[in-house]
Symmetry: C2
Subunit: 456 residues, 2 copies
Amino acid sequence: MTEPIREEDAPWARLASLLAIGEVTAVRDFLERLAPDEIARAITRLSGEHQQALMQLLQNAEAAELLEELPEAQAATMIEDLSAEDAAGIVGEMPGESQAELLREVGQEGTKAILQEMDAAVSDHIRERIEYEPESAGALMSERFLTFLEDESVGAALRDLEAHKERYADFHVQYLYVVGNRDDLRGVLRIRDLLLAPREQKLADLMIPDPVALSTGDGLEVVATMFERHPFLGLPVIDDDARLAGVVLRSAVQEARARRARKTFLKLSGIIGGDELRSLPLRSRSLRRLAFLCPNIALNLIAASVIALYQDTIQAVIALAVFLPIISDMSGCSGNQAVAVSIRELSLGLIQPREFWRVFVKEGAIGLINGTVVGLLLGLVAFLWQDNIVLGAVVGGALALNTLLSVVLGGLVPLFLKRCGADPALASAPILTTVTDMCGFFLVLNFASILLSRLT
Amino acid sequence: MTEPIREEDAPWARLASLLAIGEVTAVRDFLERLAPDEIARAITRLSGEHQQALMQLLQNAEAAELLEELPEAQAATMIEDLSAEDAAGIVGEMPGESQAELLREVGQEGTKAILQEMDAAVSDHIRERIEYEPESAGALMSERFLTFLEDESVGAALRDLEAHKERYADFHVQYLYVVGNRDDLRGVLRIRDLLLAPREQKLADLMIPDPVALSTGDGLEVVATMFERHPFLGLPVIDDDARLAGVVLRSAVQEARARRARKTFLKLSGIIGGDELRSLPLRSRSLRRLAFLCPNIALNLIAASVIALYQDTIQAVIALAVFLPIISDMSGCSGNQAVAVSIRELSLGLIQPREFWRVFVKEGAIGLINGTVVGLLLGLVAFLWQDNIVLGAVVGGALALNTLLSVVLGGLVPLFLKRCGADPALASAPILTTVTDMCGFFLVLNFASILLSRLT
């Protein structure tokens, strides 16, 4: 099954040998020929020393560009491995939104050291950006946008565009923004409207006045809704003093939503406290996983303590021990399906956290049907195996009831957590499995102890 | 906890009453004032009859626009509920990429009926689009793009743009495409390059010749890589005859990737065979969940059959029955963490399906550490509870070993499935839990039976 990669052929091996020689042009050429995912794969395979060597060999702007192509967790690790001075040089070359995102991942201490190496004006500005709520308009906005004063003419604007073509190449110039003297947003211009306008027309007469705008504090949901309502590729963001502070691009919103979905996926799988890649240090990978596993042992013990109360019943009907893990697993699966649908509907805005009743009814119906089906199936197996119809009824009935419970609970728990301001992705599964395990064990063992005389 | 919504205030209640009156202008005004997620929420809350009434009341183009704002599964259900003729009228107003996507969801029979109600030319074209591999460039591309012939002048192009301003408003006009006489792609023009060009210049001299282009058959990974390599907002797509067939927008690629991530999340949670929303019919919701639960019972029975082989051991040490579900659950959690990291790395392209060895080493290290930690913890609990150090060693040792196994296996299974062309999101968890349950039960019960004399 395992087919070892020929190490000498792998891109990272070649990159490592080029780094060993220290030939910057060769390294540059080599990276240029790789696709973005090959670059990421190659860099994550390098040793820590080679990663540092690469960062130091490249110019700061090149290193910054490279880091932006890597997953954030990886980029943060590489920045942490550099001296604060080297790191500051590279971070300084990034656009503002990437700086803040990366430094949030780096953590407070590292960030402080890096910011100390920068000019006060630059570091103050970065600090300001880091302070915006993650995923808010202020955090997502780009500062690479073009403004013109409202009394400028179309001709002057066109001449400015032409004169600064090079510098503007990286800018998002689907729209131009028209501002007043205090940088207060007055209107928006589409490039294509400039096309056919008379050169002497004032921008104030051509612009779309009072444009739709976001505030720096708007959260991702508000921002996403605005982009759903309006077809624009970018929306201007104004700060508390009504000044134009940045532009949020539709693509940045889509990326933020994808990032959030990814985090939800990882959290639901028990990876908490951040992204995990196999190239990260073993210690942090292990600790992040244990942070989920250790509380989980405690929850498991609580649930299993129910079994301990019924040892006599199990002693009398040892076959029950076979069905306990099955009931636990099946109820968990049914409940997790309902959790997934609730999380999905919450993220689509199709359901609001207060709509307990709707979820109760909808999941109750599924719970009754699916509980009956899986209960009958498992009950039948138990009956056929031990040739005891009461055992079949006990096992099947317990699974049926517990499925109903876990489906309803699975649907409700994410709503409840969301309403309490907690993260449904993080806590739903542990809460659900603990409760449904306890109830499942209780149901089957209690039924059995009541009907004990007919089971033995 | 449950706080029923005042039904009379809810937007869907008001929408329903407007529909009952049949006042199209009032309905239109009402929908206009709602945010997209409120619209989706309101529509999914309507009864089937009211949904149909709404579709029939609106003009086809309006209904088409409305359906595009709903989750696909919901839109498909609503189309299925209409007569084929009504459905054909509405589907006919959608852009090509949405038509194909929706009809794929509707299924073959319904699609056939709807296509029969359309002009042959239209239905042939839709059929062609449905036949593209889902998520390929041919499936994702928009057909709303602008072409000009290479010997046209800048002035003529500008006059055409101006003359058709209204019609082009919906088009994606960041780029103009320059074609030869056979619709063969020759070059790309950026709108802003037209800005300052002399009016009499030929497009052939201004365009960027031999532009980067996709082929209709390119899969999502290829398409995404192209967009990562190039900064463009859209890329042209050429068909097998080298003709310009469409334009894939960066936003369509981001959406397709988000959709794929969503499907992965749902599959991992045991919702298979498509999206689930609570507004869909009970029957299909129940069946889709049972499609996962029923095979899962069988897998659970296989795993639990190991316990049945050791009934005498459990009879002798009844405390073991308490630990069996814990070992099953804990091993499952550890394994799922590794599954999540593998799926994440595969989707980022950070790992290739053949790299078994790397995953084995990386996960083996985690498995050793985390297995030791959770094994010690659970062993300690077992020891303290029964005051029997051998029981502690049996339970803790089994969990430690099984954690190592499940972490390594959890990392490898997604690679193996991917390599076999199977879907890692769908099959990883059931395979993993079955194997690790069997091994976990075997380890703890086998250890116990060997050391039985010191446990009783």
